[in-house]
């Protein structure tokens, strides 16, 4: 059952990912990307990482993609008013994406030994386990990133307040 789900979710993720780059309409691309995100969240659940899965959906599908979608809808991009890209730009994009692929492959190549070294723990993705790790081993980076996000929110509030002199 788990194996079947894994292959199904992988198929959905890869197919949706391909549709993102082949779809002609940018709004369709965004919608396929959302499907891909849901498939990846399904993978997290298969790995017992419920917290990661739900945060993935809240942050990516629930906030970032909504923002993407509204911006694209507002610009109303379509073939008629989209400026034609020059060949140099296309080449640059292809080279950059190829380099990214090389980086990912290089990173993933070394992971097999890491997985073997760690004993499997079925509580690993639970909020309790995650909280313990974050607040014991990575307290400073965690607090610093929290501060960064908080300052972003406060920055947005300050931008709204016109009469703040």
């Amino acid at each position: 059952m788990t194996q079947f789900l894994f292959y199904f979710l992988s198929f959905v993720a890869v197919a949706a990912g391909l549709m993102v780059i082949t779809a002609k309409n940018p709004v369709h691309s965004v919608l396929y990307l959302i499907i891909a995100f849901f498939a990846i969240a399904g993978h997290y659940i298969l790995l017992n990482a419920q917290f990661l899965a739900i945060v993935h959906i809240i942050v990516y599908a629930g906030a970032i993609m909504v923002l993407f979608l509204s911006v694209i809808m507002l610009l109303n991009l379509n073939k008629d008013n989209e400026p034609a890209k020059s060949n140099v730009l296309k080449l640059a994009a292809a080279v950059a994406a190829g380099l990214l692929l090389v980086t990912f492959t290089g990173t993933l190549k070394g992971t097999e030994s890491i997985i073997a070294a760690q004993p499997y723990d079925d509580q690993i993705g639970y909020v309790k386990a995650l909280g313990k790790v974050l607040f014991n081993d990575f307290l400073l980076p965690f607090e610093v990133s929290a501060l960064l996000l908080l300052s972003a929110i406060i920055g947005a509030v300050v931008l709204v307040k016109h009469d703040l002199k």
Binding site: I58, V66, L69, S70, V127
Partner: protein, 342 residues
């Protein structure tokens, strides 16, 4: 294969699904009656006694209407919009504890479909993807008014989600768990979270109004400016689905508010009356629904009392009032927890 537990779960799922739909159906009737009462009118009173069959008549009317799909719209997405709105509206009911547990023949059956250890976050996630139905429908209609409604819905949703999340963080700090089952159980008797988190409750309920697109935050369908907003082009049962999804959202939001802040299925003196645990569980379900009906009434009460916000007022309220208040609430909660622990 069919263990008693599985059969009980299936019965529970089907009955909650049916109850949700019936309550949403009669919310439309309730809304019209309450509006009529507040405006000193009679309201629907022709179909059946007191107009009690009005929702059925409305349903038949919706199905019988001619179905129009605009020629230049995107057909697949046009149909997907209302489907998504309905699906996401129904999803949250899976993790709400509708009661404690019922003992049948020596085994305990929990009156909750499933208990996730990330329960509160699940509610939050479903709320945040709920906007897609509106956005996709509004965009696929290929109509400027629909698109404006969809854009308003998305920016409103994102803005109020932040304050809602911060209010939930304060609640989680005081309860110490994300599971809705444990949050409910911890409020046993009269230890309701509203007494611990009054400010958090206020922020949460305001954000619930904004997230369900109810007045005074119903700008995505603001009929004075946008005709019908995101559902301008919709007709027949597709329009019905959008309207229905709004009432389901209202019911679920009321259930979440009751569970998080008003004790869920708990009621005062529940353990001192000398009743059997089954009787307490059944009374608990009745009390939970009483609370839910009160909040549905509250939603309608506000809608027919307070005028709609202007869009800039809506954004200003969300960003400059609710978010600072929610951050202050987190600081206050942290300080109190720190003081009581020492």
């Amino acid at each position: 294969m069919f263990t008693p537990d599985l059969i009980f779960k299936i019965v529970l799922i089907v009955s909650i699904f049916a109850i949700t739909l019936v309550i949403a159906m009669y919310s439309t009737y309730g809304e019209r009656k309450i509006a009529a009462f507040m405006q000193d009118r009679l309201g629907p009173n022709r179909a059946g006694i007191f107009g009690i069959l009005q929702p059925l008549a409305d349903g038949v009317k919706m199905f019988m209407k001619e179905e129009l799909i605009p020629d230049i719209s995107n057909k697949v997405l046009f149909i997907l919009g209302p489907c998504l709105a309905m699906t996401t509206a129904l999803m949250t009911s899976a993790i709400i504890p509708w009661g404690s547990s019922i003992n049948i023949g020596g085994t305990d059956f929990s009156l909750q479909i499933t208990d996730l250890n990330i329960g509160v976050l699940y509610v939050f996630a479903v709320t945040s993807i709920g906007v897609y139905g509106i956005m996709i429908g509004g965009w696929a209609s290929n109509n400027k008014y629909s698109l404006l409604g969809a854009l308003r819905a998305s920016s409103q949703m994102i803005s109020y989600e932040i304050a809602m999340g911060l209010a939930i963080i304060a609640l989680i700090m005081s309860t110490g768990t994300l599971s809705l089952k444990e949050i409910s159980a911890a409020q046993s008797g009269f230890h309701w979270n509203i007494f611990v988190q009054p400010l958090g409750f206020l922020i949460f309920i305001i954000c619930s109004f904004a997230e369900t697109n109810r007045a005074p935050f119903d700008l995505p369908e603001c009929e004075t400016e946008l005709i019908g907003g995101y559902h301008t082009e919709y007709s027949s049962m597709k329009l019905g689905f959008y309207l229905f999804a709004e009432y389901i959202n209202m019911f679920i939001a009321s259930a979440v508010i009751s569970t998080l802040y008003f004790g869920g299925y708990n009621f005062p003196f529940m353990n001192d009356m000398g009743l059997s645990s089954n009787a307490v569980a059944i009374l608990g379900v009745i009390f939970l629904f009483a609370k839910i009906f009160f909040f549905i009434f509250f939603f309608m009460w506000i809608r027919w009392t307070i005028p709609r916000f202007r869009y800039d007022q809506l954004m200003r309220l969300g960003w400059t009032v609710l978010i600072p208040l929610a951050i202050f609430n987190i600081l206050l909660t942290g300080a109190i927890i720190f003081a009581t622990n020492n």
